[in-house]
């Protein structure tokens, strides 16, 4: 694939912040929503990797830590985070929580979101447990918006159930571009991400990749533009009306 086809945050900036912001289309560097969900298969680590990339997109980490919560099923299916393989800035910041049940996971997520010393919270939850209904999801959304700590919930092997996440992604691995020196080796990871429901953004599909420390995205199939239907609500809290 041609590298010049990628749109980078740096290139987009001169085009006019205001026009872009009002275009309603998601782009890297915009800063994700406070509460996003990433649906992914449990057979690959793309969900967690894309969640990390999305959470770190446009975020100043400072001295803050990062909370990664997994329930038992997610832990068994996808394994634990491995410090040498983590992105460099996260290695010394990670705090891992192994929750036994989905209820414990939701509790840990909410406590993490309410902590002002956390940069963001990653949750990994397998399947569609009964505990994560719309009420629980909305509770997490409100807490995350109130305290300003982003929450990315990775749903492994889950159906797209009802949820109040502001952005919902479907992520799977995409073939990597070959590295520079060894054409047979796997290159830097890429993910095919479909934003299928978002508040304030039109849905779309991108190829994401971690370009150094910047998230880069390449739109692959432009979705038909329905105008600014969802724009008026913006990213404000649902509770505000």
């Amino acid at each position: 694939m041609d590298l010049s086809a990628f749109i980078k945050a740096g290139e987009l900036a001169p085009l006019g912040e205001r026009a872009l912001k009002h275009s309603g289309r998601w782009r890297p560097g915009l800063g994700g929503a406070r509460h996003s969900e990433v649906f992914a298969s449990a057979r690959e680590a793309s969900g967690a990797a894309a969640a990390l990339a999305l959470a770190m997109d446009g975020l100043e980490l400072g001295q803050r830590s990062v909370l990664w919560v997994q329930d038992t099923a997610a832990l068994r299916l996808g394994g634990r985070p491995y410090r040498p393989g983590l992105p460099e800035p996260l290695r010394h910041r990670l705090i891992h929580v192994a929750a036994r049940t989905p209820e414990d996971l939701l509790f840990a997520l909410e406590e993490g979101v309410r902590c002002r010393d956390l940069a963001f919270v990653i949750g990994e939850l397998a399947g569609n447990p009964k505990a994560l209904d719309f009420t629980a999801s909305r509770r997490l959304s409100l807490a995350a918006e109130k305290h300003g700590v982003p929450l990315v919930l990775v749903r492994l092997d889950a159906a797209r159930d009802l949820g109040s996440a502001r952005m919902r992604w479907q992520v799977r691995s995409a073939p990597s571009l070959g590295p520079r020196w060894n054409p047979f080796a796997p290159g830097p990871p890429r993910w095919q991400a479909e934003l299928f429901r978002a508040r304030g953004h039109t849905p779309g599909e991108w190829i994401l990749r971690d370009d150094g420390h910047v998230l880069a995205a390449d739109r692959i199939a432009p979705a038909p533009d329905h105008g600014d239907l969802a724009f008026a609500a913006g990213d404000r809290s649902l509770a505000a009306g």
């Binding site: 057979r43 690959e44 680590a45 793309s46 967690a48 990797a49 830590s65 909370l67 832990l75 068994r76 996808g78 394994g79 634990r80 985070p81 491995y82 410090r83 040498p84 393989g85 983590l86 010394h92 990670l94 705090i95 891992h96 929580v97 192994a98 929750a99 036994r100 414990d104 509790f107 840990a108 406590e111 993490g112 309410r114 902590c115 002002r116 010393d117 956390l118 305290h147 700590v149 799977r172 691995s173 995409a174 073939p175 990597s176 070959g178 060894n182 047979f184 080796a185 796997p186 290159g187 990871p189 890429r190 095919q192 971690d210």
Partner: protein, 547 residues
């Protein structure tokens, strides 16, 4: 030292009237009365009143019959008690501890302080002079025990000093003036053979006590009546009766009704703890202002600061304020005082500031206020309360330590952990888990020759592999029931076992980082080599999921 203020109420009344003894208003017959169910009753009378026939305890009507010109003022027992308490503090000039002996006496511990005044006699003279200077009639006595001092002050000769009796073999253990808690000395001398039925013989110094009336034992009136009817009028006469007989007759546990117990206390054989009076300064905070303030907004802010200071002060003492006095010192010398009383003890700064704000509307600042002082003149114990940390967490978020605490309390100690590097090249050993806020151990920098997977399975899972050569990488493999076609490979990265801690039969691992046709990336390894003599054909495992 016992101090008996024989005419405390009258002296106080006279001092309030501002006249010396026997002159002015005091020259006329005055009585202090208290209202009772049967009409006013005389509590105290001055010299002229006593001469006219008025006696304490008499009905006012009866006294009026004797002396029609009797003048009446209400008595003030609460004021008398407060005055006595302040006197007790004042009397600490003669000793480190003083105690109230309501209604009209004080006890001061003067153990080993006589030499500061040149002996005990000069001490008594000094105290007598000090009381006379204040216009208070007092009788003083010094004795080894509080009971003896009291008895001598009330019934003994003026300024009596009871010498410290030498105790056989144990030196000076008797208490003087009742300080501390006297121990009951061992009763070895009460040998039943030598003393078949009586009290121990009077010791030196007790003869002075022996002539005192039994009323010197601080007994209730009805007990005194019983003793009088028994014919026991002097303390010495109690020795003539057997101890057992007294014990049989007076079985009460309370000292006021038990002459035997009182006698023991008087002689120092039974302990008699006293409650000392301790001065407690009122909590007081103040702010001096560099620039006099004239505006209400600034005043409110300073008041808020003062209230916060006061709350901290009160919190340190575990007290709450019932009454607060705010003093505003103006530049031109005026002082404005505002008082505030609370229904219950409080130390909520916002509450205090809000209530005071309502009282400051009519304050005339004049040229400005330069000093504000807040004093809690009435405080009550208010236990420290836990702040509502749930609300604080809701408003400001929790700190990391609080968050970790909340998580560990519900999920357990081992559920919340942080990965740290460990010096080992075996992948699963290269990471260890420790409590999240523990300091990170020192570790060697990692050489970034190879990429590691984002996630590592707890236990490597066996995969079925189809390969071109047994030493090469696989073409496809089956993991969890699905076949993956390998599209890209990097490897092998050979990781040998740690021979210094593992058995010699442990096989090495050849790691491959692979990507399948759909772009999924994994970390797999071959366990052993063909023909390494450590088992059969090598097995394949999938250990990590790459990003």
């Amino acid at each position: 030292m016992a101090i008996w203020l024989l005419r405390l109420a009258i002296d106080r009344w006279r001092l309030a009237e501002g006249c010396t003894a026997g002159e002015g208003a005091d020259a006329e017959p005055w009585v202090l009365t208290a209202e009772t169910a049967h009409g006013p009753r005389i509590e105290a009378a001055n010299q002229a009143g006593l001469a006219a026939g008025a006696r304490p305890g008499m009905r006012l009507a009866d006294a009026r019959a004797l002396c029609p010109g009797l003048k009446v003022a209400p008595s003030d027992p609460a004021g008398d008690l407060a005055f006595l308490a302040s006197l007790a503090l004042w009397a600490q000039r003669w000793g480190p501890w003083s105690a109230l002996d309501a209604p009209d006496a004080l006890l001061v511990d003067v153990s080993a302080v006589g030499h500061l005044f040149g002996g005990e006699t000069p001490l008594l003279a000094d105290a007598q002079a000090a009381f006379a200077k204040r216009g208070l009639a007092a009788r003083l006595a010094i004795a080894p025990t509080a009971g003896a001092a009291w008895a001598l002050a009330h019934f003994g000769p003026g300024r009596a000093i009871l010498a410290n009796p030498p105790r056989d073999g144990e030196g000076d253990r008797a208490q003087r003036g009742g300080g501390g808690s006297p121990h009951a000395p061992p009763l070895e001398d009460e040998n039943p053979l030598r003393q078949p039925c009586g009290l121990p013989p009077p010791r030196p110094g007790e003869d002075m006590l022996a002539n005192l009336p039994v009323a010197a034992l601080r007994l209730d009136d009805d007990v005194l009546t019983v003793l009088r009817r028994l014919g026991l009028k002097r303390l010495g006469q109690l020795h003539t009766i057997g101890r057992d007989a007294l014990h049989r007759r007076f079985r009460s546990r309370s000292p006021e009704a038990n002459p035997l117990l009182r006698l023991d206390q008087l002689l120092g054989r039974a302990p008699e703890p006293l409650l000392p009076v301790v001065a407690t300064p009122d909590p007081l905070v103040q702010r001096r202002l560099m620039e006099p303030i004239r505006h209400r907004a600034l005043l409110d802010r300073v008041l808020g600061d003062l209230a916060a200071d006061m709350a901290r002060e009160l919190e340190g003492k575990a007290q709450g304020a019932r009454r607060l006095e705010l003093g505003l010192w103006r530049v031109d010398g005026e002082v404005i005082v505002r008082r505030l009383e609370f229904a219950a003890a409080t130390r909520d700064p916002a509450h205090i500031a809000r209530l005071f704000a309502g009282k400051l509307d009519d304050v005339d600042a004049g040229f400005g206020i330069e000093l504000l002082r807040l004093r809690a003149s009435w405080t009550e114990a208010l236990p420290l309360a836990q702040a509502d940390f749930e609300a604080a967490a809701e408003a400001h978020g929790t700190s990391l330590a609080e968050c970790v605490d909340r998580l560990t309390v519900r999920l357990g100690e081992r559920a919340v952990r942080r990965p740290v590097a460990y010096p080992s090249h075996i992948p699963e050993r290269a990471q260890r888990w420790q409590p999240p806020l523990a300091p990170e151990p020192a570790s060697q920098g990692q050489l970034a020759f190879h990429q590691r997977p984002l996630k590592l399975l707890d236990r490597a899972e066996a995969i079925a592999v189809l390969y071109a050569t047994p030493d090469g990488f696989p073409q496809r493999f089956r993991w969890r029931g699905q076949v993956h076609e390998v599209a890209r490979v990097e490897g092998p990265e050979r990781i040998a076992p740690e021979w210094w801690r593992e058995k010699s039969t442990v096989r090495l691992r050849d790691y491959y980082r692979i990507e399948d046709g759909e772009g999924r990336r994994y970390w797999i390894y071959r366990h052993g080599l063909v023909g390494d003599g450590r088992g059969g054909p090598p097995e394949w495992f999938l250990q990590g999921l790459c990003a």
